[in-house]
Amino acid sequence: MTRVFLVDDHRLFLSGVRAELAGRAEIVGEATDVESAVEGIRRTGPDVVLLDVHLPGGGGRAVIETVRPTHPDVVFLALSVSDAAEDVIAVIRAGARGYVTKTIGADDLADAVERVRDGDAVFSPRLAGFVLDAFAGDLPAGAALDPELDQITPREREVLRLLARGYTYKEIARRLEVSIKTIETHVSSVLRKLQLSSRHELTRWATDRRLI
């Protein structure tokens, strides 16, 4: 069973998630702020950390940035009610493997946890929309940007649009007549670009929030 660590400053929400994941994952620990989260994750060494974007003491981003250097194999899945694109993108860029909203159903959440554990990226329709927004438009001429990282391919855009439209990986794979593995590869590639790209939209988001 997947070993899961929960981080959220709302205890009510923590107990809700614990009840939903009961029998599908092993909850190895919980924390309600950055400091205790870092300590708990280092102590228990979970497979997956379900991480709230907004946390007292620096936000989910601070947890990822503190834990990743010492425990690179711990996987983070962001979970939030926040709709602010810059908050979500900041956590993804810090290293989270996906983002789901808190209104997600129990089955979908358990599924998302397993998928990030297996190394896949989990994009909710909303995150797909954010990413399309971020990569919208052509690159400015002469900009010193890396086209490998700063532009998504037409195929990746197609996958993202279908994700935003509410399709599952399986449905997308059938529609595009490729294997699910191919879709997963596309999504992982988009995630990598999102984390490494220096597109001005991303940079602007980050500097607006004084993240750099």
Partner: protein, 422 residues
């Protein structure tokens, strides 16, 4: 500069620079607060010492470096009454120390500028007398004055003969001080008596009223900041009351009906989120939407309100103004959403819209039972036809994709006027 520095170990507790009340770095204000006198007393002493071979400047800079910075609000206000009674004695004490230091400097330094220091000392004493806060009565008038700015500052001086006497004595000392200074420099001889007295009066007036006006300005600014802050707080409270608290009350009343409660909570969540995170999406109820994003959000709100327990998930990429074509697309989307709500048999509908290159594309999708477009009953067929013809009238296109067991997707396309670059 030293906001983060720890205070020096040897410093008395409470002695710190007061940057809120300070003019330069808050040294005088801080010291005055620590002693318990008006900052003006310490300031005058500093200026007089500054004229005495620069001793005051050196002392000021040393204090600037040594004393930790602190905001006035960080420490409790000194108790007003005891301080008031002691203020006169303490001011006298500061004066005596200043005088003693003057004599010390005079004795130790060969080039002591007599002509500068003594007139300054006399003028300073004059200013101190005129501006000292005498007692609670005058204190109240100060407050009254700052409360009804802009007003005539002199009107606050109608304080009875004691205050008048004080001010006259102060002004006289000020004039004497200035006169002595000018006389010692030989200015009197070349200017003539009238010129000198006019000059002295103007200078004296500026010296008397200057600090006062400056202080009024500071207080006015502080008041304005306070007012803006409290207005923001009131806005927030009003919003929370109108929306969140009302919804919470409604949810409690509908506690026995989970669908109702969920729908209320969801609607509130959407509205609060829009209010917190997204300026371009006005929360529901504030007039007609003017952009695609706002219109689709409104659509989701309304459908969720009409059909308890349904969830309409909206994702929009880009945005554009709501011209007639786009409005037709929103209306067609609404028909498609309502259609899905009624017939799909599922509780979730997702709406995705994307604005690219002068075109809006929208997809309304459910994962319900679906249908075979060839064999649909009249109602569903009519709706899909009305969607198609509505879009056609505005130069757009609509298509319905469905198969039994596969869910339904309605895709809509129309051209739009591009959004003005923000």
């Amino acid at each position: 500069m030293s906001a983060t520095r720890r205070p020096l170990a040897g410093l008395p507790a409470g002695l710190a620079r007061d940057r809120d009340d300070g003019l330069v770095a808050g040294v005088c204000a801080g010291v005055a607060r620590w002693i318990g006198v008006d900052p003006l007393v310490v300031r005058v002493a500093t200026v007089i010492l500054a004229l005495a071979n620069g001793v005051g400047v050196v002392a000021y800079v040393v204090a600037w470096v040594l004393l930790p910075a602190e905001l006035a609000g960080d420490t409790a206000e000194p108790e007003a009454e005891g301080t008031r009674e002691r203020a006169g004695e303490l001011a006298l004490g500061v004066g005596c120390i200043t005088f003693g230091m003057l004599l010390l400097v005079r004795w130790s330094a060969p080039f002591f500028p007599d002509t500068l220091v003594w007139p300054a000392a006399i003028a300073g004493l004059g200013i101190g007398l005129a501006l000292a806060r005498a007692g609670d009565g005058e204190q109240t008038r100060w407050r009254a004055l700052t409360g009804r700015l802009p007003g005539n500052p002199v009107s606050a001086l109608r304080a009875g003969w004691v205050a008048w006497l004080r001010i006259l004595a102060g002004a006289a000392l000020l004039v004497v001080g200035l006169g002595t200074f000018l006389a010692s420099n030989g200015a009197l001889a070349s200017l003539g008596v009238i010129g000198v007295s006019v000059l002295a009066t103007v200078l004296g007036g500026a010296l008397l009223l200057g600090p006062w006006i400056a202080r009024l300005g500071t207080q006015l600014g502080r008041e304005r900041r306070e007012r803006i802050r409290s207005e923001e707080r009131a806005d927030m409270a009003a919003h929370l009351h109108d929306s969140v608290l009302q919804t919470l009350a409604l949810i409690q009343r509908h506690a026995d009906s989970p669908q109702e409660a969920r729908s209320l909570a969801r609607r509130q969540e959407r509205e609060l989120r829009a209010w917190l995170y997204d300026d371009r999406r006005p929360p529901g109820g504030d007039g007609a939407p003017t952009t695609l994003t706002a219109a689709l959000d409104r659509l989701a709100d309304e459908v969720e309100a009409d059909h308890r327990g349904m969830q309409v998930e909206v994702v929009v990429v880009g945005d554009c103004p709501l011209d007639p074509g786009v409005e037709a697309l929103v209306k067609a989307s609404r028909e498609a959403v309502v259609n899905a709500v009624k017939h799909s048999g599922r509780s979730e509908v997702s709406v995705y819209a994307e604005v690219t290159g002068g075109r809006v594309e929208a997809f309304v999708r459910d994962r319900g039972q679906g249908f075979d477009p060839a064999t649909v009953d009249g109602d569903r067929h009519g709706i899909s036809r009305s969607i198609v013809s509505r879009m056609a009238r505005h130069g757009g296109r609509a298509a319905v994709h469905s198969a039994p067991g596969e869910g339904t997707e309605v895709s809509l396309t129309v051209s739009c006027t591009p959004e003005a670059p923000s």
